[in-house]
Symmetry: D2
Subunit: 327 residues, 4 copies
Amino acid sequence: MIRAIVRKGELMYGDELVGFLDAWDGVMDRRTIPLNVSSLRGMLPKGGTLLGTRRGSPYDHDGGPERVQATFRQMDLDALLVIGGNGSLSVACKLHHDLGLPIIGVPKTIDNDVVGTDMTFGFNTAVQIATDAIDRLHTTAESHDRVMVVEVMGRHSGWIATYAGIAGGATVILIPEEPFDIDKVCELLRSRHERGRYASIVVVAEGAEPKDATMRSRVKVYDQFGHVRLGGIAETIANVIEERTGFETRMVLLGHIQRGGTPTAFDRVLSTRYGVAAIDAVHEASWGHMVALRGDVVTTTPLTDTVGKTRPVDMHLYHEVAEVFFG
Amino acid sequence: MIRAIVRKGELMYGDELVGFLDAWDGVMDRRTIPLNVSSLRGMLPKGGTLLGTRRGSPYDHDGGPERVQATFRQMDLDALLVIGGNGSLSVACKLHHDLGLPIIGVPKTIDNDVVGTDMTFGFNTAVQIATDAIDRLHTTAESHDRVMVVEVMGRHSGWIATYAGIAGGATVILIPEEPFDIDKVCELLRSRHERGRYASIVVVAEGAEPKDATMRSRVKVYDQFGHVRLGGIAETIANVIEERTGFETRMVLLGHIQRGGTPTAFDRVLSTRYGVAAIDAVHEASWGHMVALRGDVVTTTPLTDTVGKTRPVDMHLYHEVAEVFFG
Amino acid sequence: MIRAIVRKGELMYGDELVGFLDAWDGVMDRRTIPLNVSSLRGMLPKGGTLLGTRRGSPYDHDGGPERVQATFRQMDLDALLVIGGNGSLSVACKLHHDLGLPIIGVPKTIDNDVVGTDMTFGFNTAVQIATDAIDRLHTTAESHDRVMVVEVMGRHSGWIATYAGIAGGATVILIPEEPFDIDKVCELLRSRHERGRYASIVVVAEGAEPKDATMRSRVKVYDQFGHVRLGGIAETIANVIEERTGFETRMVLLGHIQRGGTPTAFDRVLSTRYGVAAIDAVHEASWGHMVALRGDVVTTTPLTDTVGKTRPVDMHLYHEVAEVFFG
Amino acid sequence: MIRAIVRKGELMYGDELVGFLDAWDGVMDRRTIPLNVSSLRGMLPKGGTLLGTRRGSPYDHDGGPERVQATFRQMDLDALLVIGGNGSLSVACKLHHDLGLPIIGVPKTIDNDVVGTDMTFGFNTAVQIATDAIDRLHTTAESHDRVMVVEVMGRHSGWIATYAGIAGGATVILIPEEPFDIDKVCELLRSRHERGRYASIVVVAEGAEPKDATMRSRVKVYDQFGHVRLGGIAETIANVIEERTGFETRMVLLGHIQRGGTPTAFDRVLSTRYGVAAIDAVHEASWGHMVALRGDVVTTTPLTDTVGKTRPVDMHLYHEVAEVFFG
C-alpha cells in the first residue's frame, strides 16, 4: 500500500511523503522516516508494518490532539493518511471534525469489520492462514477421532471464523454476532458420532459468547497483565464439550500467526488499489473520507458513516451457506 | 462447489443428484456417477474436477442436442447445472433456448472473463499461483540482471496478467485488451537500466498482441498437433527485447501449473456460495440464468447477457493502478 | 509410505497386505482394511494417517500381547510393520522378543527423537510448518515491539525447536536437553533492547524446563481431563519475561497445527524410501529391526538399540550453530 | 548463509567481512559491499543472492587470475569464501592450487550434483517447488485424461527429477544418468491406459537423453542467442508420445521458477550450518577445502576430490524406489 501511495504521489503528483513511526505516538512526537520511490525498492512482497504499530490515541493524552495539530503546522503537512481499523479510523474522523485536519482513512484490519467497505486490507490473508491451519487439523482430528476447537481472531465480528470455517470445512462455526447454545453444539457432535463421523472441527471467533450464563462466567478474558487472553472461549468450549459428550476434545489457538507474513495476491492488489485511491483522494481534498471497496470498484465514503460501528458478518453467508455444512 | 450443491440439495431439498462425467460427452452418453453427501466426505480441500473435463459441445455432433434432450427424458432430470467458462455457458444458454431445457449456469474459469459476474471460480487461485511464481522470479532476475518475460494464461482477457502483475510487482503488463508497442516496452526497460535497475519482470497474457505486424507474424500460435502453443508470444517478446536492447532476457511459461491443486480459501468460499445459490436457483426454476457475484452478493443473471461476450479486464485497474508501477 | 509398501509388496513380491485400524486396538481386535494398489490410487499427496492413531499398548490390557499373537495366528500373518515413534517401537520390540513375533519397525514421529536413525518421517514437515509460523510472527513482533514466546512440540527433545528456531531466526531457543536460566534469557532480551532491537522471538520446546525451581512449579502440565496441557511452559516464560523486563510479551502455541496436512517433498521421499525398505526387510526376515536413515542411505537397525532411549538434539547444532544467532 | 558467516565471523572471531558483487567479476574489479551484523538485519527469510550472480571465470580473461591475486594483495584479504556449484568450485580449486590463494568452498546449487557432499544448499527448495507444481498438474492431467511431460532442472544429473518425481507421484522419471528408451515409455503409458488410467505425469530432467539417435537429433538445445533452450527435451518427448500413442500430451517447463524465493526450513538450516562451518574453516586455515554434509555432520573435504566430476543421482533411489511407482 505504501509503495502505491508513494509511487503515485511522487511520480504522478510530485508529492513529498513522510511516514510517521509507531502510529499516533509518532504523529504527536514528529518521529518520521522519509518515504520515496527509491527508498522503497523491493518492498512489495513483504508483509507487515514498515512504520510500526501502537495502540492508543491522541485523545488518551492531555493536549494530544493539539500536538497532532502542531505537527501539521510545524511540518507544513497538506494531508494525513490514517491506515487502520475501527479504532484508528474513529480517531481520524474525530480529529478531522474537531480540528478540521485534512485526513483520509484507509481500512486495514484483518477483522473485516469496518462499515462502509466490502473488504478491509488484511482480511483475505488472515482467512488464508486460518484455512491452511484448519486443513491440517482435519488430519489430526480424523486420525485421533477427536473434536478440535479452533479459535480464530474476531473479537467483535465473525468474518474470519465464517470464511475460514466455510473454506476449511468446519463442523460448526461460532461467532460474536449470534450467542451460541452449547447444548445444540454438543447435540450436533453427538449426532455426527452416531453417523460414524468421529472427527469434528469447531471454529470459534474469540468474541463468540455462550448463551448460558454459567458457561460465560467460566471464560477468562484477561490475563494477569491485563492483556486480552487468547483462548479463553476456546478452552471453555473444549472443556464443556468433553465434559458433556465424553468425546476427546482439544483446543487450538491460531493467535498471532494469523497476522504478518507475505500477503495473499488478492490482498496485495487490494492494498495497491487502496493506496492509489488514497493519494487520489488527497488531491481531490476528500477530507474526512476513507477509501472503500464497493463491489469491484474502489471509491470513498465519509468516515462519519463508519465511526462507532462494527460491520457484522453477512448473516446470509452464515445462515444460508455456512450452516449447510454444519454437522 | 459440488459438495455445497449436494449437501444443500440432498439435506435441505431432498434432491437426488448425479454427476455427468467428461462434460457434454457424459451428458450425451449418460455416463454418470452418483453424488450424495456420504460419497463426498473429505472432498473439500481438493482441487480440480471430480467429474472430468472435455472440450467440445453437443452442437459439434449430429443430433447432439437431441441426445442431451433424450438424457433429460430418459433419466427424468428436473434440472442440469452447467459449470464452466464462456464456452460451456454459451452451450447451456443455447440448449435452454433451443430446446427449453431447464438449465442453470455456474461461472467457473480461471480466466475471470465471464460477463455478468464480478468473479469466476478459479480466478483467485490462478492469480495466487502466478503471483507466487513471479515472486520467485525476482530473485533470479535480480541476481542475474535479467529481463524475465512471464507468460500467464488469458487468451482473450488480461485478468490474470493484471492481478498477478500488480501483486507480483511487474515492470510492465501486456494484455489482449490493448495491443502493445514493443518499442515503448524496450524504451521503458532501457530507462530503468539507466537508473541502475537491471532486473525487470514483464508479465504477458498469452493472448496479448503486438501492434507491429512483423512481430505479430513471428508468433507461433499452434504446434504441430494443432494444440494451442504455450509461449508463442512470450518467446517472441523475449527475443525482440534481447535483440533490441541487448539485455539478457529469459522467458518463463507458467502454463498448466496455473490450474489445479488446492484452491485458495477465497475461491473455496466463492465456490461454496455458488453451489448453494445454484441449487437454490434450481428450486426457484431460474432456467437460463447463471449464478453470479455482484459486489458481495451472490445473485443470478440471464445467460443471454453473457453469451458471445468476453469480459475485458477493468481498464481503470490496468491504467490507473497497474501502470503506476510500470518502469 | 503405505503406498510404497503396498506397491513394492504387491507388484514386486506378490504380497497380500492389510492395514490394522486404530493402531494396537485394531491389531488386538482384528479390525482391518484391505490395502492394495488399486485401492490406494491418488493417496500420495495427502497427509495423515489413513489407518487412524491410538495411544496405548497391548501391554496395558490383560492378555493384550496374547491377543496380538492370536491375530497373527488367525489371520496367518507373515509379518507386522509397526509405524510410529518411541512408544510404538518399544512395544514392537517387546512383542518381538517376548513372543517371537515377526515385526519390523518404521520410525515415524514429528519429534525426530528415535535413536538409531538420522531422521524420522514427519519431522521435516513439522519443522517447515513451525518455521512458516515463526516467519509470520516476526512481522507482529517488529510492528508492536514485542517479545513473542512460541511453543513448539518436543516433550523430550529439542529437535523441532532447534531446527525451526534456526530457520526462523529465533532470538533464543529453549530445549528439554538443557535446563534454561530465565535470568540469562531476560538479560539477553534487555541487551537487545539496549541495542535498539525491540522485537524478539523466543522458541521453546514444550518439554523445556527452567533451572529455577519456583518457576518450574508455576508450569501447569496437565489440564482438568489429564490431557497434557499445551502452553504450560510458554505461558510461564512469557509471564516471567514480562514481569522481569517490563517488555510486552505474548505467547503463541503452535500445537496441533504442527501435525497433519500435506507432507513436504523431502518427507514424502523419506517415507517412500522407508516404505520400500520396510517391505524389503520383511522379505529379508529382519525381524526385530527398524528401517533407518544413516547419512543418505536407508538401512536397518535392531530395535533393541532404540528402546527406552530418546535421541537428544545434536548439541553441536544447538551450541555451535543456533547460539550464534541468539541475542 | 551470509548471515551465519557474518555473525560468527564478526561476533565470535572479530573478523571484518566484505562481499564481492557479481561473482568473479566483482573479485577481479574489487567491487564490494560491506557485510556486517547490523547491515544484515532481517535477511533470514529472503531467498536469492544478495551479491548477484555471474557466469564466467577469471580464467576466461587474460590476466584474470592475476587480477584476483591483486585483489587479495590490495585489499589485504585473509581468505575468500567461494559459494557456488561445480563451476565456481572448480575455479576456486584452480586458483588455490595455481596461485596458493587461501580459498574455502561452499556447495550451493539447486542441482545437488557436487561430489563430496550429501547435499548442496538450494536443492531442497528446488525439489519442494517442483513437487508443488507436479501436485497441481495431477488435477489437469486427470480431468483432461492427458499425459503431462514436466521438465525440471538438471542438465547433468537427475537429482531434482528423481526427488520431485517420487514426491510428486510421477508415472515415469527420465534422467541424464541413464539414456531412456522412448518405446518403453510409450508402452508403459499404453499399459496404464489399458488398465483405465488415462492421466500420466512424465518428469524429465533437462539433460535427459533418448537412446534413439533420430529422436536425439530433434531436440533443440540452444536458442538463437546461444542461451540454453528450455524445454528442448520435454517438447520432443511430448511430441513423440503423442505421435506414437495418440494420447493427448502437453509439456510443462518449470524453468526459472525452480530457483529463488524463500528457501525451505531445511535449506535454511543447511545454509546456516554451512556458513558457520565455512568461517570455522577459515580460522582453521583449511585452504582448498569445501564444507560438506556427510550424514548429519557438517565437515570439510578437499576441493580436488570434487573438481571435474558430477555427482550422479543415487541409482539405488532411482531403481529401487522411484521405479516401484512407474506405470
